[in-house]
Symmetry: C2
Subunit: 454 residues, 2 copies
């Protein structure tokens, strides 16, 4: 609990305008986009600098006040829900593009800048920051969760694009980790410790990013298959053939039917793979296309070489699945499964998830970043129907356990947050203890985003 | 100092055959390929399993005995020299390929397997492990130093290919970190903590690697430039144009002259870039070639589309530079500078290094993984000529300091070892303290490869 004196001291740091204890702000910062129950902070603060955050953390650390950084609020596992109350640091005012060095293919941003606006501003340099998790996420939030998204197959995760991080440690020190050199073997790779740490080890305030040249050529394709298994098996074959698409997405029949209806598409309503290739020249993409045709020879239909407009419509539909489901079933709630497995196990996890829905008597939609072995299942339930929600949670747990048995992971990209904590022991065994020790080392009083990951 | 009782207990763990205190073994394990003075261990042990290593580390930890893992012995910064004596763990008997899962593009190896033998055995699957540091390094050694080498530009560093690590912690616990899933957001990325930690945080015993499909097509090119600056400037232009060669190597005029003479090549004796493109189809490579021709329009000569044989000779010559220099100057010693800078600073660091050699009155050869901003300078001196060696060390330090001023790194790929410790404060500032704390957390008695990095 914050005392009146604590609030006064916080006000002295940021001024009265950038601190709120108002009901509506507390409410807005009590929930993300997940099914996890909301929990209000006691105060929301909008810092403008690492120095302000340092002063706030020093106070919080000395007083044992929980601090939860707040980025886009689009998490799907309760990652930013302040379950112990305390302070929420909303990073949205720290949204400057600090510099672009086009010759180095680098940019430095404050943590609160979102990737859509960043990419808009990078266009004139012919550069872009590839990770795209779908929702309008901030770079800081993406780093804290090592966001992946549809283009990770070719370009890598958010973490793979991080060169330097400015981090305010829980005890208030401001450190800079990493290097502007693209490769370094200089001591421990501290930036990777903060990447994906979900705000539990400090507050990320600025990031130097490695950028990519905007590809000149795009080639999109849709492959429709007669059976779920065939689509899932084609994934390992496509990757095994040496293809590196920018995106390789899977959707089950129900998902395709849904997006046809709500997004004005006319895809064959069967298990489907979306592929996109990006390159500097047309010839390279034609090579890829040829290889893809060979691998997908048994597909029900293969439509390749889609025009820009059709491609954009497909990607928009893919991005909007989560929203489309909510539009199709007004008032519905959902749990989004987020597992990843080795490629050879992809058919098995897809079949298993389908069966798990059936066995638990649930409606759900399957899709995912198949090229990296990632599978999402949006499992629906009616809010307030406790028994149905329990079944949805049981199906989620069953799919996660199966993924772990297949030597996969409990979370491919959404992070641990609240929802995946109970699988950590099974996934990590003894090394979970090492994670705990690192948490205790950096955050001895446990003030940073408490109750998450562990 | 090990007591007789310590040696008896070590013998009881591994048996008398896999432990030696013989002069010749101690001597063999006293030096790497660097200029740093040798230092003998007290005993060399050849473990066969993580369990044996665990028992050894428990003993060493309780008795405060230094332990230094030994891989290929090819380090260039004194990384494995046991400067505090104690135990050297030579990993060469742990060299099994544990499994290959071709459908997952994965293999698991023991740490002592070298990458050349691994790649030989992967050939039949049409797969390979891309990192190639030149010397015949073991996978464990490559992970411990996050080795890069000539192909890192397209394929990434060794660490980018690591999915799982089995590590024996300094206190004897055997932990497994990472996941067989290609992407995971499940807790802290512990594997990145051990990657590049140079044996200071534990002993890496087994590694699950992500592999790549063997490229079907290769295209090599040599671009010769009239001036050093032009060659260096072309690097940023090539990368900026969106080209992602497998390799983009730089050599100065002296280096080209040397390899012409000793490797039977007939390259124009001027500043030179070697490029290699790899892809699944010919058409893609022709696109790359076209783009390269445009960027290198001002080159003195551009020879592209080299045949397999000529390409292999070029790469062999590139790999052998270090050996060739020793052949050219029998009995010579050398310090190998290993900096990396942002691409736009590449011309500046190349010019600076050239000037530094001249100002210090030294002979040296410039080359490096230019596409990643990496520059090596092999600075020669006559062993025993103290004053000349001091000048060589001063020139090395000057080039490193300049790289750090240009926001680069003191070591692009050789690691900190002994040689780069004195630059860590300047490069990392406050975050060096965080590295120290992590070292103390994992290795409270400081037994693992003591005296390195810090």
């Amino acid at each position: 609990m914050l005392s009146g004196e604590d609030l006064d001291r916080l006000r002295a740091i940021v001024g009265p305008e950038r601190l709120s204890t108002g009901e509506s702000e507390l409410e807005l910062h009590s929930k993300d986009e997940s099914y996890h129950p909301p929990s209000r902070p006691e105060v929301v603060i909008w810092p403008r600098s690492a120095e302000e955050i340092s002063a706030i953390l020093k106070l919080a650390n000395s007083r044992g006040i929980p601090v939860t950084p707040w980025a886009g609020g689009t998490s799907l596992e309760g990652n930013p829900i302040p379950i112990r109350g305390g302070i929420v640091l909303d990073m949205r005012l720290m949204d400057r593009l600090l510099w672009v060095k086009p010759q180095d293919l680098q940019a430095r941003v404050e943590a609160g800048l979102d990737f859509v606006r960043l990419n808009k501003r990078l266009e004139r340099y012919g550069l872009f920051f590839p990770p795209d998790p779908g929702a309008v996420a901030t770079i800081g939030g993406m780093v804290a969760n090592d966001a992946k998204g549809v283009r990770a197959m070719k370009y890598g995760s958010t973490g793979d694009h991080v060169l330097e991080l400015e981090v305010v440690l829980p005890t208030g020190e401001i450190v800079e980790v990493g290097s502007r050199a693209w490769r370094s073997s200089s001591g421990y790779d501290l930036k990777r410790l903060f990447i994906g740490s979900e705000g539990t080890l400090g507050v990320i305030t600025a990031i130097t990013l490695r950028l990519q040249g905007l590809p000149a050529e795009f080639l999109a394709a849709v492959a429709s298959f007669a059976a779920l298994e065939e689509a899932a098996e084609a994934v390992a074959e496509l990757v095994g053939a040496g293809l590196i698409p920018a995106a390789l997405e899977f959707m089950d029949e129900e998902t395709v039917t849904l997006i046809n209806k709500f997004n004005g598409l006319a895809l064959p309503e069967s298990p489907t793979l979306f592929l996109e290739f990006q390159g500097s020249g047309r010839a390279a993409l034609e090579d890829d296309l040829q290889l893809m045709r060979e691998v997908c020879a048994d597909a029900l239909r293969l439509e390749a070489g889609l025009g820009r407009e059709e491609r954009d419509r497909l990607w928009e539909a893919r991005h909007l699945i989560h929203d489309t489901i909510r539009k199709a079933f007004p008032g519905i709630a959902g749990i989004v499964v987020d597992v990843a497995v080795p490629l050879s196990c992809y058919p098995e996890i897809v079949e298993y998830a389908k069966r798990a829905l059936k066995e638990h008597g649930l409606k759900g939609y399957l899709f995912g970043h198949a090229g990296l072995g990632g599978l999402h299942v949006e499992i629906l339930y009616h809010p307030g129907e406790r028994e149905e929600q329990a079944r949805a949670e049981a199906a989620n747990a069953a799919i996660v356990h199966r993924a772990l048995e297949l030597e996969g992971t409990a979370t491919g990209e959404h992070g641990v947050g609240l929802g995946k904590r109970r699988f950590m022991e099974k996934e990590h065994g003894l090394s979970l203890e090492l994670m705990r020790k690192i948490k205790a080392l950096l955050d001895p009083n446990g003030i940073m985003n408490p109750g998450k990951i562990f």
